[in-house]
Assembly symmetry: none
Homo-oligomer: 212 residues x 4
Amino acid sequence: MQRQDTPTTDNHATIPAAERHTATSARRARRSDPNRKQRIIDACLDVIAERGVAGTSHRIVAEAADVPLGSMTYHFDGFDDLIFQTFSHYARQAAERFRTRMEQARTRDDACEAIAETIADDLLGTHRDMVINLELYAVAARKPQFRDIMTEWTETVLTSMASFFDPQTAKLLDDVIEGITIHRAMAVPHPSVERTREDARDAIARILTRAV
Amino acid sequence: MQRQDTPTTDNHATIPAAERHTATSARRARRSDPNRKQRIIDACLDVIAERGVAGTSHRIVAEAADVPLGSMTYHFDGFDDLIFQTFSHYARQAAERFRTRMEQARTRDDACEAIAETIADDLLGTHRDMVINLELYAVAARKPQFRDIMTEWTETVLTSMASFFDPQTAKLLDDVIEGITIHRAMAVPHPSVERTREDARDAIARILTRAV
Amino acid sequence: MQRQDTPTTDNHATIPAAERHTATSARRARRSDPNRKQRIIDACLDVIAERGVAGTSHRIVAEAADVPLGSMTYHFDGFDDLIFQTFSHYARQAAERFRTRMEQARTRDDACEAIAETIADDLLGTHRDMVINLELYAVAARKPQFRDIMTEWTETVLTSMASFFDPQTAKLLDDVIEGITIHRAMAVPHPSVERTREDARDAIARILTRAV
Amino acid sequence: MQRQDTPTTDNHATIPAAERHTATSARRARRSDPNRKQRIIDACLDVIAERGVAGTSHRIVAEAADVPLGSMTYHFDGFDDLIFQTFSHYARQAAERFRTRMEQARTRDDACEAIAETIADDLLGTHRDMVINLELYAVAARKPQFRDIMTEWTETVLTSMASFFDPQTAKLLDDVIEGITIHRAMAVPHPSVERTREDARDAIARILTRAV
DNA sequence: AATGAATGAGACTTCATTCAT
DNA sequence: AATGAATGAAGTCTCATTCAT
């Protein structure tokens, strides 16, 4: 309780007490829904891809995941936590995909191809991934916690490339991956996957030519 | 309104109660205010930098610009228009800055240095620019309209480089600029401006070595 | 935006942005409603009397005052401010009533009768006043700001009695007023107004007998 | 939940997210917990003292008592029952304390001193008791059921005084006790215990002087 | 006997926008 | 031309309570 001109931290009051709702409406039974939390995260990812973080809300995600609104703050410690866990999950998955691709590479050429494929297929292949990436960047630029997600991701990428490229080259390649991703994302109309793959191959080749 | 914000005390950002509306009359009294619209745009840019598009609202911008709330929908055709014009202004300004830098370059080495400076000083020099850039990217990824802003910007950049580099090299350089910008933005802690400039120089050099 | 285990003050996020409700439903026109704020306060007093502060909410008060929910936080700086202003108004009014009664008294006996009437009619006459009084006490016990309301009230009461009683006697009388009020409020069933007035007269007489 | 609360940082009072439910298993492990119900009541009293009935909820009490949320509705028949039993316990205890004090009195003077001590030490000695008292009054004013608690308490008080004072005097004394208690509770800043005891002695003396 | 999981209702607040002035 | 007043929708979050285990 606070007077009108005395700003305090306590400005989100809540429910009264004592006399609360006594109505006992009929309830749908939907208990015991395993991995509901994961379903919410997946749905949240979809929503972010479609409407951006700015357009994401508990209600919309709950609807997308087909869970009651109350589930949101039950499973997540507030909206911010939802966003954090969602991006965290996404980044981990993306990093894993990249590592898998690199692990399957035998030669340096294989590795280059894997990178090109990552750019063209994983990062830009779908509008979805593209948007999520950029939304994550935007948030991370302002929130240190989200930068940690990025750090982890970057480390996995660089580590995965370590077998084929020296650290400096790997970093440069990583920069280029990023740059191409963004620029193609911004292009209107978006270039085709094939075209993007070509461009990626060329860029990588140019960088490596000198390093050889 | 504050969603993905760094925690602030947020004392006066909130809407005043009814009385306060009239109580603040002394503060304003700003009849005949030329370029009020521009002041709103500048304030909006500040707000976006600090709270992201998700945390931006008419009220907060109005407060930051010290204009009445009614001004917002009077000068802008709704919220989206405000954001669009704001980003549009920003991008044009950034492109102009880059062109000026390049125009002052005489040799190819000058040009490289200008690029490095752009990365280190203009795009990453301030947290502000970094955040605004990424916010713009995020929006642009989802809204074609905003992609036009990016297109214009990119064209100015490539055109400015045309005197010193062949198209393909310019594009690659542009990609690297982007990649470095992002990766440094994500790094924790942010590397120093000097360090960033060094890295940028190296990356550019590597790319050009082979092209020469 | 905050990670799950990092308690920050920033835990009441709000609206997204950019893509918000564009629906323009038909609106009732109810502009220009003078002293709407006072009507809300009156309604709030009714609600408190009926359900206690614990049972009071923006929604319920808005409904009682027949104003849209949005009006509540428009006219008041949050729930706490509403409660504060409501009690403040009530206390001022009650103090005024008491002063008027005392001002009309000519003799000491008149004053005694005025006090008895205050107890029986003003403070206990209606269930409404009784409840509001006690709710105010309860809040004031925990919130210093509300204690200020009480202080002002008490001062008015003591000042009003100054013409007829020495300070110490006035204070004792005030204490007795309070005590009778409470005890009768707690009695089950509530004694009649007449009975209460009798009791008050007796108590006052007893206190004054010795002082004479 | 916090409505009319003094501003607190409120870190751990909030509900944990889903995972945290299981994460805290180490903390509890309290099988076979005798007088758990009493522990809940004690905790509830603390919560009421700190946040008022309006700020009390099942969750907060459960947290304060370190029992699982489900315990609340298991041991109590809903929220109102919890509040009722809590106040009931408190009043019985307070009445008992008063009776003990009076039983130890031998002379009428002893009795007067016991009353003064009750006011100064028991009712006002701690902020806690003061708040709880007034919260109880407020609820009792609106709910007959709670008035029964008060009736029982008052009867014990009057009975305890019967050995030393005639009924009418006892009643008046009781009124004064009440009045002083409230007025001191409202004073800002609260007078010291010693000062309060003095005042109480004086008031009692004045009342009795005439009666003698 | 006891409790973790879950939920629908409702809490406060802020929002973009409209409209009379 | 400009704006203060006002509002319905939607925001996040907490609530008491139920129920399967």
